[in-house]
Symmetry: C3
Subunit: 268 residues, 3 copies
């Protein structure tokens, strides 16, 4: 396998060159932030959720981002429509199950989307992702997770079960398709003090999926890039407002060479 | 009564220690800003407005923030549902009657929410808050308010009538439960040039309500903290874009000791 | 004709003095940004989209901004209602046809709004604006536009056909009512890396329309002012996050004298 740091640099170059259109059906809190992040990294964001528009819009897109924050039933319908069209057109879809496991609406919506859509990557925190197990299986639940190793084992099992790639973000990010397990150590603690950094990570993976057909390398390299942007921002800011501004700056200024040198991706 | 500056410091410490979940049903303009402000101060924001989700969500929350900007009838229904559940669970509710008095939809929505929900605090500007008088009473109207003292008298009367605590923000903030009247002098003129500072003040009070059972001291101390953050931001910024960034920074960096020293709260 | 740089300075002074209320029915991505831009320049923004509120709200406003990003059928209904009321009250209306030409929903919505509303100015990029031609006419299509001069000719023809003023923004902005053609050369390349700069330009024109009854001079001078703010931001920032902050700062700090000196408006 080619070194993932090299793939990271190549993916970033490809996004900046091809400027893929990324269709987002996402939550109200982060729409502005993720649009700005996608623009800053070199992609072309579009936000569109009308049921009579999403199929047409996704047909122009390089990837579809579905994010279930601030959800309602109407938005689930639009997501299902867009997801079905993306599946038919063989476009990559990434799901962010914001709040899955917290309320029935969100858990059910995430599971329904997974059932009816070919999803390349699911990105969330450990409790969100591990809430997605099918009810009829005996996979270990979130309550049984007591360590990073427990999470890795459960994620691997769940990725196989769902036949997708899982990206669980935290101090150390974990990416697995049930077979490979990759860890990404880039990042900064202030990312937890800015709303929508998780959702933005998802959108950034979406942009990498538009140029990299391998969900595992797309997700891992996107998280290295986004985490490196956080590290860069953290060098110049020590509070969340300034950090957020510098994070957007870093997504724009980081070069493929800097990403090659700064990626902290561990396969195994 | 314990000195309110001490309570301010204690409340800020408690928010940072307990990280209460604050459930916001708020307007589209400020969702991102208020989520970031709550994170920066140390609380845990969640935005959720689906009618089939709000009751479940509010059951996890330390406080419920209802904000009627960018309102529609559907959102009023969700607010009523969430408010009823919060009332049943004895969770503090804070209402921001954005634009009440300007259009019938907003005035009616605010009044309906007040009628059907046990509301701990209502935060708005003078004309918004004073528009909330019941139609069948003879309380003096907004048009009769010609001075800060007029406003204080009208607010006190209205707080008694509505059996709640009113927080009227302006150059000098006024907090009253009909009995006590407290003035808070913290703040900065640039706050008026950033959208959502009022709505953010409401959310900050919500976080303080989650750790302080006394609505009057929660509201007054939260406004001192938020106003001090404005003063701190104003030291390093002289225009709204930079000010907004530094305001978020200050919510994160202000220590309880600094709040104790910097609060400008006057009881009487 | 008075020099347009002088009118620019006069319009900016008038906005800051009169603080006109600008009613926006706009998309979720840019609501926060455009509200902040309007506040920073000295206007008073309000966002309201409920069908049972928009007529009342627009009656208080100095101008109405209609923006079709993140559109649904319900929002089109509200826009039509608000537009009809604004037309009846002789209030200026500006339309931003975000994504017109990309999907049928957006193209149809823009055309319907144009048919049923007296619109003072339409602001978009070349492909959005030129997608608005009536189907039964033989105006040259977007595909036939191969140069700035082609665009100028097509825009002039379309402005006459639609009996409105078109403002096509790009590296050089073009404003025409079918008769006059004005070019505005202010601006900065980083504006393309921040989401909503086009939508914000539209809102800024809205504020100028509230103080200048001539749509051509209102649009051209607003674009000079907004472009100069971009240039000012670009002097202190070399990446999109910082640029966005400094753009808001510049909208607040630029004086009428600086605008008089810095406008790059060419009539002809």
């Amino acid at each position: 396998m080619v070194d993932l740091s090299e793939i990271a640099a190549r993916n970033l170059s490809a996004v900046r060159e091809k400027k893929p259109l990324i269709h987002n059906i996402t939550n109200f809190v982060v729409m502005n932030t993720t649009a700005n992040a996608l623009l800053a990294m070199g992609a072309s964001p579009v936000m569109a959720h009308a049921p009579n528009e999403v199929e047409e819009m996704v047909s122009f897109a390089g990837a579809l981002v579905l994010n279930i924050g601030t959800l309602t039933d109407q938005w689930v319908e639009s997501m299902l429509k867009a997801g079905a069209k993306a599946t038919a057109l063989h476009k990559p879809v990434i799901l962010d199950p914001v709040g899955s496991g917290a309320t029935a609406l969100r858990t059910d919506a995430a599971k329904t989307l997974i059932d009816r859509t070919r999803i390349s990557v699911i990105r969330g925190n450990a409790s969100e992702v591990l809430s997605l197990q099918r009810d009829d299986t005996k996979t270990k639940g979130v309550d049984s997770i007591h360590s990073v190793e427990d999470a890795a084992g459960a994620a691997r099992e769940l990725a196989s079960q769902l036949n997708t790639t899982l990206a669980i973000t935290g101090p150390i990010d974990l990416v697995t398709d049930g077979n490979q397990v990759i860890r990404v150590a880039n990042g900064h603690p202030l990312m937890g003090y800015v709303t929508g950094t998780g959702c933005t990570a998802t959108a950034v993976i979406g942009a990498f999926l538009a140029v990299d057909p391998n969900p595992v390398s797309a997700a891992a390299t996107a998280l290295a890039y986004f985490g490196l942007a956080g590290e860069t921002a953290g060098e110049g800011a020590d509070a969340p407002g300034s950090f957020m501004v510098k994070l957007l700056d870093a997504l724009y200024t980081i070069t493929p060479q800097q990403l090659l040198a700064g990626s902290k991706i561990e396969t195994g």
